[in-house]
């Protein structure tokens, strides 16, 4: 009995360390934006956390449905939206970085068919310290902020 349990623990330890190996790196709330048919690309958003004492840089990413996963940033200057590819996204030591609408995101390029709510994509994020973060992310529709026609 004890043996089975310890075997299970050993296996789960192995599974965990190889999967979310990045003991120091974690991802939260990842999602992919549902885009209309005809869109050649979509974006993925998430929060990345770094529990280690050294900054880590995300340098490469892959996903299960498009050939290209690029690191991009958005800036708005005088109401003009500008999207730029970036070489890396740094997760500060004992800190976090937000990949969120209107800012940093993963750009998934080369959609053969639209991604729809209910779909799930798998991601691999590769960091400059050799860590690889593997996780799944659901597709979510574009949701405008809720607006209640309050007291008028």
């Amino acid at each position: 009995m004890l043996n089975i349990r310890s075997t299970f623990l050993a296996i789960s330890a192995i599974v965990f360390s190889s999967f979310v190996n990045a003991d120091s790196l974690t991802v939260e709330n990842p999602f992919v934006r549902e885009v209309p048919p005809g869109s050649p690309a979509t974006a993925a958003f998430m929060q990345l956390y770094n529990q280690s004492d050294a900054p880590v840089r995300l340098i490469k990413a892959q996903n299960s449905i498009t050939d290209y996963t690029e690191l991009h940033d958005h800036v708005v200057i005088n109401e003009v939206m500008q999207m730029r590819q970036v070489d890396a996204i740094e997760v500060p030591a004992r800190g976090e970085v937000q990949l969120a609408p209107g800012g940093l995101h993963l750009m998934l390029i080369g959609l053969d068919q639209p991604v729809k709510e209910g779909d799930t994509l798998t991601f691999n994020l590769i960091f400059d310290n050799g860590d690889v973060l593997e996780f799944e992310a659901p597709v979510r529709p574009v949701m405008p902020m809720h607006h209640s026609s309050s007291s008028e």
Binding site: G38, S39, R84, L108, P144
Partner: protein, 205 residues
Amino acid sequence: MFKASLSRSVLITLLAGLLVFSLVVVGTLMFKTILSAQGRNDEKVGGPIELVSTRGDFSLTDLGDHQVAVVTFGYTYCPDVCPMNQAVKKQALLELTEEERERVVPLMISVDPERDSLERLQEYTAFFGESFIGATGTKQQLEELTDRYGVIWRRVEADSSAMGYTIDHSASLYLVNREGDIIQQVLYSSSPEGLVNAIKDFFNS
């Protein structure tokens, strides 16, 4: 001797004054030139919108007297702002009565005519609703039109990206009537509130 040095110092003062003066003049001129090269004509005159669209030839003059177009500029490669702008239009329409809704024409103008065919725009806009129209034009047409509307867009090469190029573009929404008057410019937001208010203001005016 004293006289000579005095006149010399007067001369030097004069020359120095002249130098400062000309520097100021040249500086001001340069500043103005830079401003006019960077900044654009601030006056947004609006005017006709006549483009090929997912409904055949589109013209603002096809709108009824009581109708208003909600115009945005973008491109289908844009994964964030452009779908959000359409979703905001959709949400705003849902907050209107059916009668009000029929008076609103949602229009997206693609500033990426190279990649955004009408077929692609049709798929794209139909996703948000039957009333959504997609339009585009030649580079010259789009330049002339966006200049009148004070809309900035520029192609930016992205050699290391699989996209090849991206397009910087104004994210605002424009309420425009059939005469091409810009009733209101609504700043980009992920909330439909500003747009709903602008539409209601138009209906109540």
